[in-house]
């Protein structure tokens, strides 16, 4: 879906579910996941339909993810950190084929 215009010099390494993600320092978590090819961040609580980032400026709350020790946050408004462990919000299973 997206590619980076420049290579990452000093990557920040984090995990989304079981997947290792290489991010650039200063990336929002949502940008880092999208750049790594992750398009599904969570499931809609009502139907279980897959959802991913939509507005990227903190208004739509579609990019909610769960971070170890931090709870559920908006991935577009959260900066990546070394070693961060990120999951689809609790009680939701990772999507197949991501």
């Amino acid at each position: 879906m997206y590619r980076r215009s420049a290579a990452i010099a000093e990557p920040v390494i984090l995990w989304f579910e079981d997947r290792k993600i290489m991010a650039a320092p200063g990336d929002s978590l949502a940008a880092a996941l999208l750049a790594a090819g992750v398009s599904v961040f969570r499931r809609a609580p009502v139907s279980g339909a897959k959802r991913g980032p939509f507005c990227m400026i903190g208004n739509c709350f579609e990019c909610l993810v769960e971070i170890d020790g931090q709870g559920v946050v908006q991935a577009c408004s959260t900066e990546v950190r070394q070693g961060m462990r990120v999951y689809m919000p609790r009680g939701q299973s990772p999507g197949e084929g991501d």
Binding site: S5, A24, S28, A31, I57, C60
Partner: protein, 492 residues
């Protein structure tokens, strides 16, 4: 953490063009002003990360163009203005007019705090107009603004089969930025209606005063149309796919089409982000032509609450140039109010010619790119309107027809607007759909009641908030003792 002035003379919410211009002007006049902003760096959405892009990513800077680069000047002025600046800070409440004291609830690095300014300037900017259509909740469907934000903040370019749909200056600006960077979308599905007489009539006055800007815009449109297939008067737009978007179907010139797409970027103009203003109890009205809610404003930016002013795209969509000019003028108006005890209130500052010229340009743009009817009143009843609670247009129409009197009652009946986004993505649509069913004006139908906290805050963060007596800093602190705009803000 640097001590934050708990009682600044003026608190500004938002470090975009309007907020920065107002803060600079006030700080330069010796007023203790504190700017609160959610982002890590000043610029707002329009100049988002302009410093970082300028320093680290010259190719992205070239693609983003001259208007983006122009933001650097204002950001630098802001950094040196002496204005206090709290980045990465969200505002979740402004106390109601019935409360004894004006206060603003902030959250920074997980710590909540109340600040007690004498005056508040809201410069919360714009958000993209909701664009409900079948399939818009599929992963891989995003807004054009979102994709542009990814380019500004992280240098992300869309890859693979990209389709742009909707209309508006931002859509064509972004398409041009992609072409400059060597990325070619598969198609633009333009939902703009036929050019109206009103648009044509407002073209000449705009051309007379802003020929450069219009020719630049015409240049983009021409470059885009020369390189990307553009379908006109598109309707019946649908995103299709099981798990994520795989294709997009639409009608144009009476024919049905389908295109493969792995990224569908949608846009239909921007509207004021009124959530904080509405939560503060400021009066709003519905602007019929713009099809959006706007705050009632007198003078430059005075609202129905004497100590709260509003400026920039949050007051009315006029773009960054107007926001800067208005920010400066608002600073004078606020200064007059603050110093009112010592002398007569200053008259509303005169409008500089540049402001009048920009307004003529904006008037043309608004008439040339009116909101798309297809997104305003989604014709297909299966269209999800409230993304959070997955409430469809059909359900809203149904409860309205059953006698539901307004959006707040519809909320109680269906849960529309009750999810985490607090109605930001459905309020406009729900009010418009219900007004249509009841055959009344949107103004009469009303808007969801917006209540604080308007930003996520945990009970623990609220409980840990220092009581007034424990707070750091005091009104006696001179400006400059706290985090000023030119100090390094990066902590992580």
């Amino acid at each position: 953490m640097n001590a934050v002035p708990v009682r600044p003379e003026v608190a500004v919410v938002g470090a975009g063009p309007a907020g920065m211009a107002a803060a600079c002007s006030l700080a330069e006049s010796g007023v203790e002003v504190l700017v609160l902003d959610e982002q890590p760096a000043p610029g707002g959405q329009v100049y988002r990360e302009v410093e970082k892009v300028h320093e680290q990513r010259p190719e992205d800077l070239a693609a983003l163009g001259t208007q983006y680069r122009a933001g650097l000047e204002l950001v630098r002025r802001f950094r040196h203005s002496g204005a206090g600046y709290l980045p990465r800070t969200s505002v979740w409440e402004i106390t109601a007019a019935s409360e004894p004291e004006l206060a603003i609830g902030t959250l920074h690095d997980g710590a909540a705090q109340m600040l007690y300014p004498r005056h508040i300037i809201l410069a919360t900017g714009a958000m993209e107009r909701p664009t409900p259509f079948p399939g818009w909740t599929l992963p891989g469907v995003m807004t054009v603004g979102a994709a542009q934000t990814l380019l500004k903040t992280s240098g992300l370019m869309p890859a693979g089969r990209i389709v742009l749909a909707g209309t508006g200056p931002l859509l064509y600006l972004y398409a041009n930025q992609l072409l400059t960077a060597g990325t070619r979308p598969e198609a633009i599905l333009d939902t703009r209606p036929a050019t109206s007489m009103g648009a044509l009539a407002s073209l000449l006055p705009a051309l007379a005063v802003q020929p450069g800007a219009l020719l630049r815009g015409l240049g983009w449109m021409r470059a885009v149309r020369g390189s990307i297939p553009v379908s006109s008067r598109v309707t019946a737009l649908k995103a299709l796919g099981d798990e994520r978007v795989a294709s997009v179907s639409y009608e144009s010139a009476g024919q049905s089409h389908e295109l493969q797409a792995e990224l569908l970027l949608v846009h239909d103009g921007v509207i004021p982000n009124t959530w904080l203003a509405m939560a503060a109890g400021i009066q709003h009205h519905f602007d019929q032509r713009q099809a959006c809610w706007v705050p009632d404003v007198r003078g430059v930016g005075r609202t129905s609450r004497e100590s709260i002013a509003i400026v920039g795209d949050g007051a009315a969509i006029q773009g960054a140039e107007v926001a800067i000019l208005q920010g400066e003028r608002l600073a004078h108006e606020v200064l007059g109010q603050l110093r009112g005890a010592k002398g007569p209130v200053l008259p509303t500052p005169v409008e500089p010619p540049a402001l009048r010229q920009q307004r003529l340009l904006q008037r043309f743009l608004k008439r040339y790119f009116p909101p798309s009817a297809y997104f305003q009143l989604p014709p297909d009843d299966s269209t999800i309107v409230c993304r959070c609670e997955e409430i469809t247009a059909g359900e809203i129409r149904k409860v309205a027809a059953l006698g539901c009197v307004g959006p707040n009652q519809a909320k109680a009946f269906t849960r529309c607007g009750m999810g985490p986004c607090m109605g930001r993505k459905c309020a406009l649509t729900v009010s418009q759909l219900m007004a249509q069913v009841h055959d009344v004006s949107v103004e009469e139908m009303g808007h969801y009641r917006i209540r604080p906290p308007i930003r996520p805050i945990t009970v623990g963060q609220l409980a840990d908030m220092p009581m007034t007596g424990e707070e750091t800093g005091s009104a006696a602190d001179p400006p400059g003792k706290f985090a000023s705009a030119n100090s390094s803000s990066s902590k992580r």
